[in-house]
Amino acid sequence: MAEKFHTELKKLKADTLKMAKLGRFMLRTGVDALIRQDKELAASVVARKDEIHEMEVRIEEHCYQLIALNQPMAKDMRIIACTLKVITASLRIGRYGKSIANTVADLSTKPHIANLMSIPHMADLVIDMIDDAVAAYESDNLRLIEDLSSRDDTIDALRHSIFREGITYMMEDPKNISRCTHYIMVARYLERCADHACKIAENVQYMETGERVEIH
């Protein structure tokens, strides 16, 4: 019985990784569509919103089923607890990718102001954080996430700088208000995605060691 359960647990983790990768892909592609002002690419991100939602529901149900039928303990229990958090974070990341893709239509009529400011750089850093947090979930390697807190500080600083830069362009010319508001929102979405990477990392730490830590 235990063997069957552990096989199921491996499958659960594999499914969760697929979902985390889809969330990450939606964010990466959403940002790429914004950078290139590519409405078709943006539409391809929006089209996957149901898919990621269905994945979340399916994995969540699988977790409940494993709990109800096996009463898992120790690391087995912690893997399931962590998984429930990872799928929530991944869904949010995917949805922020979709939200960013949704801005592309409005932001494709004219060239970007100041080459999107620091948004492309910020997106690269956020996606690296997500990659490391998800890789730690996959490989149990906690070293990947040990500096996540200071990386999150960098993200917060970038969001703040984009906010100030955006305000400056708005004051220069009221025609920039709509575009810069979108930029500020995108920076906010990216910052939230970094927070979700930290949440994943916190739960991976719990999964591995049983200790609760705060990463932010």
Partner: protein, 253 residues
Amino acid sequence: MSESAIITTNNLNLWYHEKHALQSVSIKIPKNRVTALIGPSGCGKSTLLRCFNRLNDLIDHVKITGEITLDDENLHAPATDVVTLRKKVGMVFQKPNPFPKSIYENVAYGPRVHGICNKAELDKIVEQSLRHAAIWDEVKERLNDSALGLSGGQQQRLCIARTLAVEPEVILMDEPCSALDPIATAKIENLIERLKEDYTVIIVTHNMQQAARVSDYTGFMYLGKLIECGKTRQIFEHPKEELTENYITGRFG
């Protein structure tokens, strides 16, 4: 374990002939708490339990070294009276074993052996013990019926009442639910929860979910050794030892 201990073993070793069944076991059993001993078959958990009321004395060729204290008194000191010890440390076994007597006589037997003959006093002890064991309402109309006519779960609660009648400090339970159905098991588990207000309970079980449900502390034993002992939540949420982890997640045992 920072709580005050009622039973302490220090470097306890036990051999059955050549078999080294308990190896340097040092454990503290906190007072008024439920401590569960878990581990695969043959790991020594029942042997350890039976040390606490010297039940192993009844077996030939047993050798014990190390120390066991109850209330700071050495259980193997020459002055220790085994009858008094077993009054203080009661035991409930895997299979309910009521005497082939009436329900009343089963409970009154112990107090009588210890010299209580007054009928009114015995009546009081019988009622209190049966109430404490959560079986009074089910048997109060038929106290003179044979105990053997009760269901398995009722028999087991009667055996608990019989143990309580001599006012023990510690109750040892060796797989008390393994012969019972889930409903009778739930009744015994609820009872264990209530018993710890007045007694210290030590339970041996191979049912890990049961250990997790009923106990405050859990000790994991393997091949005669106490591998890890700590708060139940810690043992089942994040055990420190890999062996414990592997056992409670069903990787062996």
